[in-house]
Amino acid sequence: MPEATLLANPVKKQIRIALRNCGVINPETIDEYIGKDGYFALGKVLTGLTPAEAIKVIKDSGIRGRGGAGFPTGLKWEFASKNNSDQKYVVCNADEGDPGAFMDRSILEGDPHSVLEAMALCGYCIGANTGYIYIRAEYPLAIERLKIAISQAREYGFLGNSVFGTGFDFDIHLKYGAGAFVCGEETSLIHSMEGLRGEPTLKPPFPAESGYLGKPTNVNNVETYANIPVIFLKGAAWFSGIGTEKSKGTKVFALAGKVNNVGLIEVPMGVTLREVIYEIGGGIRDGKAFKAVQTGGPSGGCLTEKDLDIPIDYENLIACGSMMGSGGMIVMDEDDCMVSIAKFFLDFSVEESCGKCSPCRIGNKRLYELLERICTGKGEMKDIDRLRNLSEVIKDTSLCGLGQSSPNPVLSTLDNFYHEYISHVEDKKCTAGVCRDLMEYFIVEDNCVGCTACARACPVGAITGERKEIHLINLEICIKCGACMEKCKFDAVILK
């Protein structure tokens, strides 16, 4: 057979656990899931392990929450199991709100049963018989496939009364998010499930003590649950054999931005960013130079060349000033302005702040305004000091995870790209050529044919030049409207 051109590097850097069935089985057919040992973990645990033994398996596996903070899942289950109550709940957080992360959606669309099975397992472990999946309303296909999966699982008896004839009852219902990033935070999510504004409340009490409707509640995200059945099938030792000392297993990343092979990847903890970006991601697009990689979404930070060889795990990312987050990984190249990137994330945090606590409600707005000033050439050196102090106070005093991490993009760009801030403030230059207010229009002599189109378009008469001679823009007069550039047919007007 003749060799075909390959679209990616065939090196097997990835290992698919959470994504094991995505792109493999038909998500709308439960038989295909069963064909992949689906619901075997549930059968095995219900018929062979006590809840305490089952929790021990999860604890031994070392799996930590994949939603962002990385709290040990087994410990979380243990807390919920130890709080006695007539009613407890299992909640799946599928309110994936990180702009640039879509692994949870892909899992729900590609392998919904794995999540259902894991929730039932969790229910058995903590003593709950009702589960809720809190899912973004913006995910119609995932909702559709979940509905199909739930009805099939009920039909087969994997959900409902006395699963596998063991007397264990468990059922799952859907609750819909309505577009509020803060609802990714557990207490906000629970309030939203209760039909309230998704505002966070102080922890403690943790949901494991007092969650949905005041009852002990275990909240994990989709990717965490998707790992669970495999851990029971292949054993805690197998799972903990993958990854680093403190971070076990794999992590799914949504690799996006300026890499060639944008996509969903699942890598063992401990691979380096360099491997991810260059070997899996196929390097930077259009041969441009790598500048930064942003992980952890609006709560994370921007990492640079110097961080590329650090093994990815929860601790290392935090040490570098970023975080694992839910798994967005956005690669940036030389054309990206890091001040603008920080501004972009702050814009997001301003929009998504719930408004309950003052540092987040007002502080993020002020951070945004400072960045806006810097990007438009109005920044002063004292603004940079203010940025840092404000960022630190917001982190220190905000009520929930959103405010406690929203300044991270500012702090990490200040740490790693201080020179870009300085050039915006002192030299009034945006080297990446992104901040329009800091750029000026020029005519490239080699391209200009002297057609006079630009001069005629200029509303303020800033362009001079005789017909068939090279034209010139008077920067003192230019109002940067861009009309000349639009009119020029010879690419002779540039912005730099």
């Binding site: 879509f102 309505a178 949504a254 956005i330």
Partner: protein, 164 residues
């Protein structure tokens, strides 16, 4: 505050009652009730929120407080062809902002507005999860991937063959 004042028809009030009933008139189901109502009416005018408040026996202020908290809920009717520009991170770094600006310029409207002729409304959304196709624009159910500012005119014209 809603600027549109409407009067609900009997069949519409009945519909809301049916929706509330289907969720057992439970206070805790407010968000689900709002979703269903918005699905039915296209948006959530004040009158609908009042009816829901009455049925679920909660204050209208609370319903309004919830509606205005979540960006998915809208109190103004969407355009016939709602245009949404993804401004997730992946789309942003691949130029979503310039695409958005082009839409604003071409349509002469701001984000969050519905054109007076009711044809278009313009909104931003956070990550549709099609990061591989960034930047992404949705018009109704149709998704456009790898959109460049130059494509914007063409996209609009698909829905307005006679021009603007």
């Amino acid at each position: 505050m809603s600027s549109v004042k409407i009067e609900l028809r009997k069949d519409q009030t009945d519909k809301i009652h049916t929706i509330c009933d289907s969720f057992g008139n439970q206070e805790g189901e407010l968000i689900n009730v709002l979703h269903k109502s918005q699905e039915t009416f296209g948006y959530l005018p004040a009158e609908v929120q009042e009816l829901i408040a009455e049925k679920l026996e909660i204050s209208a202020a609370k319903v309004y407080g919830v509606v205005t908290f979540y960006s998915f809920f809208s109190m103004t009717p969407k355009g016939e062809f709602p245009i949404s520009i993804c401004t997730g991170t992946a789309c942003y770094v691949r130029g979503a902002e310039t695409v958005l600006n082009e839409f604003k310029k071409q349509l002469e409207m701001e984000v969050g507005e519905t054109r007076t002729d009711g044809k278009f409304s313009l909104s931003c959304l956070r990550c549709v999860g099609a990061c591989g196709l960034a930047p992404v624009v949705q018009v109704g159910d149709k998704t456009y991937g790898r959109v460049a500012p130059d494509d914007v005119k063409g996209i609009i014209e698909e829905y307005l063959p006679a021009g603007l």
